[in-house]
């Protein structure tokens, strides 16, 4: 039986919508099932992997950085790339023009730079493609 591959296009910037969490859960579940995954991050989604993100304390609750355990999307992306480093494989491509517009150059290791042409190619090679648009 041919290997399964799922391509997902993301557009939402981090910390704005629950769709990002759902998308990352789908990626994680697919990898756990041995399914290869391509992610094409477009528009604000290129910021998901930005290395400069930092967890913070919560002055309202009076908690420290350690107590708050603030999750960052860059850490989610990094850990998913770690899970999908060989077989199954996770390929994460950031749209280059979107990166340049946002200055989102410094990203976690393993994230590639590409263009919508890469997304077209990924979709053609996949079992299925899911586009998660902004509202």
């Amino acid at each position: 039986m041919a290997e399964k591959k799922l391509t997902i296009a993301l557009m939402d910037a981090p910390y704005e919508k629950a769709s990002t969490t759902t998308a990352l859960r789908i990626v994680s579940a697919a990898l756990q099932k041995g399914i290869h995954v391509n992610v094409f991050a477009y528009e604000g989604a290129v910021n998901l992997a930005m290395k400069d993100q930092a967890p913070h304390a919560n002055p309202v609750k009076g908690t420290t950085v350690e107590q708050e355990e603030h999750p960052t999307t860059k850490e989610f992306v990094r850990s998913l790339l770690e899970i999908g480093k060989s077989n199954p494989q996770l390929t994460w491509v950031n749209c280059g023009l979107c990166v340049d517009e946002r200055g989102a150059i410094n990203v976690v290791d393993g994230v590639k730079r590409g263009s919508p042409a890469d997304f077209f190619k990924m979709a053609g090679e996949s079992t299925n493609t899911l586009v998660i648009p902004t509202k």
């Binding site: 399964k4 799922l6 629950a18 769709s19 759902t22 859960r25 789908i26 579940a29 697919a30 756990q32 099932k33 399914i35 079992t127 299925n128 493609t129 899911l130 586009v131 998660i132 648009p133 509202k135």
Partner: protein, 109 residues
């Protein structure tokens, strides 16, 4: 005949266009396709029996398979006994299984 997976993420009370998704899913089912509507995020608010304005009865009557993400339900404190009958509660892994079926079209809303 094709498989269709609609992923409904929107609250039916906030987004009137959720009825359009329900009508589309029901129409595709009527034409002989296999159709699944998988509720995630605020889409699961339609699961509650008390949610009278939700479109789920229409979907269920049409024979569409309706499932709801267990994580989204837990996040919103919606208990199993609050939910409508005939709607299955499922993990996200179930959605992945639908997505990688051959000849399946996936639509996020």
């Amino acid at each position: 005949m094709s498989n269709y997976v609609f992923i409904e993420s929107r609250d039916p009370f906030d987004s009137p266009d959720t009825s359009f998704l329900a009508e589309t899913a029901a129409s595709l089912k009527k034409r002989g396709n296999d159709v699944v509507v998988f509720l995630v995020q605020n889409g699961v608010l339609a699961m509650r029996k008390q949610a009278r304005k939700a479109h789920l009865p229409q979907l269920l009557e049409s024979g569409v398979t309706v499932m709801a993400d267990d994580f989204s339900l837990r996040e919103r404190g919606i208990q199993f006994d609050e939910c409508r009958a005939n709607v299955r509660i499922a993990p996200i892994e179930q959605l992945v299984d639908f997505l990688v079926q051959e000849n399946t079209k996936a639509i996020w809303h």
